[in-house]
């Protein structure tokens, strides 16, 4: 039934206005969300969060066809939510609309894979050297661009043998560590570093083996997969959650997802939602956890003196956790480390977003302000928690970007910082 006719039919049955639209009525259309949206500023075709969120939501609520490809351009950065003076959950409305957006076949196939970085990781890490070799070949990348609409201008992060639980028993205070895909499949060395860092502070971390947190799934409009990831994650952490053990995440997006009860992926499943709420209350960002210990005088401050001029970039999903910038204070407490807080907005990568051929330009345009600011400051290296922010910064500035935890660990045990995630010095474009 065409939308208007359906609305009319509904009207005859007695107009239906659900009462959970309270949030929607809070929207005064002041457009402050638009002022905070990185895509709105960088891409003139984008109608902005006010239109795609609360405005179209009124039509969607009534079952009218308000499908638009523009929702695909939402980064999921939550900046609109944070900017809204009336606490409207703008980005969640757009995320739901993404879930029901009808895509082309090619995009559907590509996004199916992008929604499943865990599966991709399992496959590519069977023979990582072969996978990495092929993914770096220009003809392969050009073919991926033509057939899969994955930009050839970026290189995939290298895959490696995934992290597997070691039999090594650690002693100390118990926490659970949620590694997420990137640490599991691309940087098990970084996962080791997290464990070493915690060990330096007398904490024994157990690693959760549940795969992806589900952010890539909802970002790619695959709400079923997001729900599956939430269920798997909950099951894997259930015992620890019941025992009240803190859960730590080093990836800002994983942390955001666990803290928001898997971003609404469990809506309607009351029992699991209650469990997710419990998990959320026990979840800590790694930096937040360490900063809280520092506040109580429990952080090991036996630091070597380093020599780093660091520029710090705040990932959007760290911003959205509402915990300030714990790493700025932590890094500043290391002797010989100076920290510049970049405050230059979103990097534009947003996980798989920046890899999509049709979004590459938008992604780089969003990051332009950040690249420019880094260029002005000329730091020795950039620190940011988020792996894809790191990729984007290295791609856009040709400077090395590391996780701040690596700098802290270097201050503890002199472990050198890693080489860049991707190739630097302009080698990234085929």
């Amino acid at each position: 039934m065409p939308g208007i006719a359906r609305l009319f039919a509904q009207g005859l049955k007695g107009a239906h206005m659900p009462h959970d639209d309270f949030e929607l009525d809070n929207c005064l259309k002041c457009s402050v969300c638009n002022t905070a949206c990185p895509v709105y500023a960088a891409y003139p075709e984008y109608p902005g969060p006010k239109h795609l969120g609360p405005e179209l939501e009124r039509l969607r609520m009534e079952g009218l066809d308000a499908d638009t490809g523009a929702v695909e351009y939402c980064l999921g950065c939550h900046r609109c939510d944070l900017a809204c003076p009336h606490q409207v959950g703008v980005s969640e409305m757009i995320a739901r609309a993404k879930g029901s957006h009808r895509k082309t076949l090619v995009h559907t196939v590509r996004d199916w894979w992008f929604a499943r970085p865990g599966l991709l990781g399992e496959l590519l890490s069977i023979l990582p050297s072969v996978g990495n070799f092929f993914l770096k070949l220009s003809p392969v990348r050009l073919m991926m661009e033509k057939l899969m609409r994955i930009t050839a201008r970026r290189t995939f992060p290298a895959y490696t043998r995934p992290y597997r639980k070691s039999a090594q028993q650690r002693v100390g205070e118990r926490v659970l560590f949620f590694p997420g895909c990137f640490l599991t499949y691309n940087r098990p060395d970084l996962l080791d570093k997290v464990l070493a860092l915690l060990a330096c502070n007398g904490i024994a971390a157990e690693v959760v083996e549940s795969g992806c947190c589900g952010v890539p799934a909802s970002a790619n409009g695959d709400l079923k997969e997001a729900q599956l990831r939430a269920e798997k994650g909950l099951a894997a952490m259930a015992t620890a959650v019941d025992a009240g053990i803190p859960v730590l995440a080093a990836c800002a997006s994983c942390g955001h997802q666990l803290k928001t009860g898997f971003g609404g992926a469990l809506a309607g499943d009351n029992q699991r939602e209650a469990q997710a709420k419990k998990l959320a209350a026990q979840t800590w960002d790694l930096g937040e956890f360490l900063a809280a210990r520092a506040a109580e005088g429990l952080l090991n401050t036996n630091f070597h003196t380093l020599d780093h001029r660091v520029a710090y970039h705040t990932p959007c999903h760290l911003n959205s956790q509402g915990i300030g910038r714990p790493w700025v204070q932590l890094l500043k407490s290391i002797p010989g480390v100076t920290v510049d807080d970049l405050n230059a907005g979103c990097c534009g990568m947003s996980g798989t977003y920046g890899f999509k051929e049709e979004k590459y330009k938008v992604s780089m345009a969003i990051g332009a302000g950040l690249f420019e600011r880094i260029g002005e400051l000329k730091p020795q290296l950039v620190a940011t928690e988020c792996a894809t922010c790191q990729m984007q910064i290295e791609h856009g500035t040709k400077l090395r970007a590391v996780s701040p935890l690596e700098i802290l660990l270097e201050a503890y045990d002199g472990r050198p910082l890693p080489p860049a995630v991707g190739p630097l010095h302009g080698a990234d474009a085929p």
Binding site: V32, T35, A295
Partner: protein
């Protein structure tokens, strides 16, 4: 290192909160600013009306507060022009003329002046800004007041297409981001101005851009440029908010944005901490002084029991005792107390609370 303890915690990032946080930071305090979105002033022009000054000028705190704020705005790269003794008439979008004493520098440039040949320039596709109508109103008002001013209008095609519908926000963002756009726009305006001594534009000359960038642009245009604030989000108000926030963050103020304070913990007439409703679990912070720069938040957090504020700006209960000795009201409208109007009232409220908080605890310098 105490991650979540601050000398001063300010709740609310409206003009009052920004003023209070700046003063505390300037006094050397460690400051956290907790906010949910921008204050209402981003919807406006970011100026001070004549009637606000009239209502407040006898308050002994007013002049120092305004001086402080003017310095602050200038060092944040968005200076205000005008003074508190002199009123100018600034045109509004709807054809009225508002008596103002202070306004963002380029907005102040749009004042009704005698002997200035002015051209109002609209942009094609930008609705809500009628250049013809504004020029007409300008001439009528000038004639009514016996001023020899003359004004005409023209409409310009923007040098780069900026999406549909075109909004002032889009133009301002392009101005911020794109040097090429700025140059092309300045060129187009230089051509459009003809023999006029002044052009009036909808306010679009950048949000993040500082006064230097705008001055360089104006130099390229080659005559006086005045901005007219448009419908919300109004660029001059937004600019003031963004520049002040960036300025505070650069000076080391910790920003906690996006989630409201859900509870104030009070023990024995001391505010011992604040709980911010962050996802998952409340994020707790504490401040030696806590400044509430939010009228709605104050009512929500303290209930309707507050009858007034005392001389130190502390909310007091029905018995006249402070609810907490380190809790200060920095909002323009504490319930049942006074009505501090407009931007000036909020500047005064924020400044006054920060001064009281600073003197209450002695000097921050000891830290």
């Amino acid at each position: 290192m105490h991650a979540n303890r601050y000398d001063v915690v300010v709740v609310g990032a409206g003009i009052a909160g920004l003023t209070a946080a700046s003063l505390a930071a300037e006094q050397g305090a460690s400051v956290a600013l907790v906010s949910i979105g921008a204050g209402a002033f981003v919807l406006g022009a970011g100026g001070v009306e004549e009637r606000e000054v009239k209502a407040l000028k006898n308050d002994p705190g007013f002049a120092p507060a305004m001086d402080f704020f003017l310095d602050l705005a200038a060092s944040a790269g968005t200076a205000l022009a005008g003074n508190l003794e002199h009123t100018v008439l600034l045109p509004t979008l709807l054809g009225g003329f508002q008596p103002m004493q202070l306004a963002p520098a380029l907005v102040a440039n749009s004042a009704l002046h005698p002997f200035v040949k002015t051209r109002v320039v609209g942009f094609r596709g930008l609705t809500g800004f009628d250049a013809e109508f504004l020029a007409q109103r300008f001439n009528q008002e000038a004639e009514k007041r016996g001023l020899a001013a003359s004004c005409d209008a023209t409409t310009l095609q923007l040098p780069v297409p900026l999406g549909m519908p075109l909004t002032t926000l889009r133009v301002a963002q392009a101005f911020d981001r794109d040097q090429g756009f700025r140059t092309a726009l300045a060129e187009a305006l230089r051509e459009a101005k003809g023999d006029c001594e002044r052009v009036l534009l909808p306010a679009v000359l950048g949000i993040e851009a500082n006064d230097l960038k705008r001055a360089a642009f104006v130099a390229q245009v080659g005559c006086t440029v005045g901005e007219l604030p448009t419908l919300p989000p109004s660029i001059p108000g937004l600019r003031l908010a963004q520049r002040l926030l960036a300025h505070l963050r650069m000076r080391g103020v910790t920003m906690l944005e996006g989630y409201p304070v859900e509870q104030l913990d009070r023990v024995n007439r001391t505010c011992t901490g604040l709980r911010i409703a962050s996802p998952g679990r409340a994020f707790r912070i504490a401040g030696d002084s806590v400044l509430l720069a939010t009228s709605t938040g104050m009512r929500r957090l303290l209930g309707d029991a507050i009858q007034a504020v005392d001389e130190q700006q502390r909310p007091v209960d029905t018995a006249g005792k402070p609810l907490a000795n380190n809790l200060f009201a920095a909002c323009a409208r504490p319930p049942h107390v006074s009505e501090l109007r407009g931007l000036a009232g909020r500047i005064l409220a924020g400044h006054r609370a920060a001064v009281c908080a600073g003197s209450e605890r002695g000097a921050y310098a000891a830290r």
